[in-house]
Symmetry: C2
Subunit: 385 residues, 2 copies
């Protein structure tokens, strides 16, 4: 096991009707800015529950955060913060709203010239406005980590930053929100969470047995519960397991002390940028090829994955690896997510486009062993499995 630091101070309020508890979690006399997205929270009742819960505070609203939250929109929130002396941010939404709120929290206290530098120049976030979360879509894990991805429309750039300063003080996870989600968001959410686990697991062994088994436990749960939630989002038990899996998939726990990959995400981000395909869809496109092309360096963990997650015990090493890839693809398809470029009308030339873009930015070589270069990216996107 590698040395590691684990620190996660987000308080989780999990379960039915936990939204009412947030008034005890927000510091007294806070002036709250409630930040949300396109307004689905007004249809599913969450908006009213939150308003009821914070009615004892002075609060303002800022809606309209986009699915890929933009720097431009976030900067408008800063004006509201200034105007009303806001000192607490409450994100009510999915990963995009939470990511935007984190950036706004950091930008509000940023001492430099342009908060964009936090993303483009890795300027340190020394302090940020405190924030809380009411999660409405289990997927990104943003509710229990310090990660945020923001796009700057003007520059066509999508960049990430990480800081413990923007970790939510608390996050409400009420699985009842799953009931009203469109099927596409559930499909995406389950696959996104699954690939988060894979990126921290399918590397090379360092004999980190607890982390491995926790990762496998989350994957087994998503495989069992994902299709059930998709079929019946009112199944509270399955929704609960899906929601807690998505949070545990990216809260630093299973990634502590182990190598991490993230090349599937890196390549996927480029495909989203080029062709506007949903994030989770790009992961489903890229992962099988990554497993196929990088199988030599990932062999031991792919075989462990095959055995423990899919119960594949027979065959040569190569047959076991192929069977594991097949099972993974079948799972994504069962979740309603296609895995081939042609399913999304993306030309095979995307392989060159992605490789060129990443080369230009110096973003190769990637992966746990820095073995994924432009050649590998091409092979991954062109691979037949």
């Amino acid at each position: 096991m590698k040395n590691f630091v684990f620190y996660n101070h987000t308080k989780i309020l999990f379960g039915k009707d936990q939204i009412t508890a947030i008034s005890d979690e927000i510091p007294e006399d806070s002036k709250i800015l409630m930040i949300y997205g396109g307004g689905s929270i007004k249809e599913n009742g969450v908006y009213n529950q939150v308003i009821d819960a914070i009615s004892g505070f002075e609060y303002y609203e800022f809606g309209g955060i986009e699915p890929n939250p933009s720097y431009e929109k976030c900067m408008k929130a800063l004006e509201v913060i200034d105007e009303y002396d806001i000192d607490f941010l409450l994100a009510v939404g999915g990963g995009s709203v939470v990511d935007a709120t984190k950036f706004i929290a950091a930008a509000a206290f940023f001492e430099g010239e342009d908060p964009w530098d936090i993303l483009s120049r890795n300027e340190e976030v020394v302090e940020a406005m405190p924030l809380g979360v009411v999660l409405t879509l289990p997927a990104t894990g943003s509710e229990m980590n310090g990660n945020s991805v923001i796009s700057r429309v003007e520059y066509k750039e999508k960049l990430a930053f990480t800081s413990l300063e923007v970790m939510p003080l608390f996050s409400v996870l009420d699985p009842q929100v799953v009931e009203s989600l469109p099927k596409r968001q559930i499909s995406n959410g389950v696959v996104d969470a699954f690939v988060h686990v894979i990126e921290q697991y399918l590397t090379y062994p360092v004999n980190a047995k607890v982390q491995d088994r926790m990762a496998e436990g989350i994957m087994l749960t998503l495989i069992e519960e994902g299709p059930k939630v998709l079929a019946d989002p009112t199944d509270y038990d399955s929704a609960s397991n899906y929601m807690w899996s998505a949070t545990m998939a990216l809260n630093y726990l299973i990634g502590s002390g182990v190598p991490q990959d993230w090349s599937t995400h890196n390549i996927g981000h480029e495909i989203t940028a080029l062709y506007g395909v949903d994030h989770a869809q790009t992961l489903a496109i890229v992962l099988p090829g990554t497993m196929k092309v990088m199988q030599e360096s990932k062999k031991d963990k792919i075989i462990q994955y095959a055995q423990r997650v899919w119960g594949i015990n027979k065959g040569t090493e190569s047959e076991i690896i192929d069977a594991a890839i097949k099972k993974t693809v079948e799972f994504f398809e069962m979740m309603g997510i296609k895995t081939r470029l042609r399913d999304y009308n993306i030309p095979v030339t995307v392989a060159d486009e992605v490789a060129d873009r990443m080369e230009q930015r110096g973003d190769v070589n990637i992966g746990e062993n820095k073995l994924v270069g432009t050649d590998e990216i091409r092979k991954i996107l062109e691979s037949r499995y």
Copy 2:
């Protein structure tokens, strides 16, 4: 899954030579009281490493914390705190030292008459002195929770309290400390951690799949690595897995949203009080009987445990349960811990003694369903499995 609140803000510094990092974690200008036990840290090099790490601070020492830490000893530490205006506590030791430090931290800021009231009258801990931990013995999980057990010699009482206020700011987990542990402490540590998991797992199903699989993952790891560490404490990989398992076994994570038992611990504490047997030994004595006697209400989870942890798939329900108990006993014995009262020369009359003591204190009925009363306690301690 039940509703739950999960909150754990202890920062973990895990791995080789992490002790040097504590100087960055202790607030500047702190006046530190370093608290330790019988002096084994002076033999294994930990004492010198800690002294080196805190040499930039003003610090004082308080040694001699006992294996069952006493109220009387803790009260003496308060005098040192007053005398030198101490404002930070550094526990260097195993669970006993950490538990003592937590009580001292709470007592230092206690506004009532006698800090013993925190234990005997559940007086709330409103504020506590900040504390950090350098762990030298993986076992109790105290390094990443707010629990503490303190004995008052004068009254022959051993009581517990829990408060988020006494949760360590940081804990250093360097698996190299395992090298110099006596075998008996490793045996006890592995069994203690294992039974912590069992108490949060072997109850009744609430369809909490992530928690169940994480619990199973910790148990599988302890079963695999425990005997290896016992045979060779210098095996760093196995020591790492043992150490992280013990911490994860009792840091609120696997217990979130699920019923918990703790009757084995309750009964075990009485046996320790009556016959001075090691804590982990009492757990090994009580658990098999608990599984046997309470099997009807625990049936579903015992069968899941049998299948997933021990690979027992064949037989009637009753045969599977018996096989799971047998495997558990074999594991404890492989770890060098005997499981029968006669192994410790404890008379069978202990069953009545324990039942009477618990009845007098109103500590029945216990367990996840409050089904363990005096009759069950007698049956558990007299059971043949």
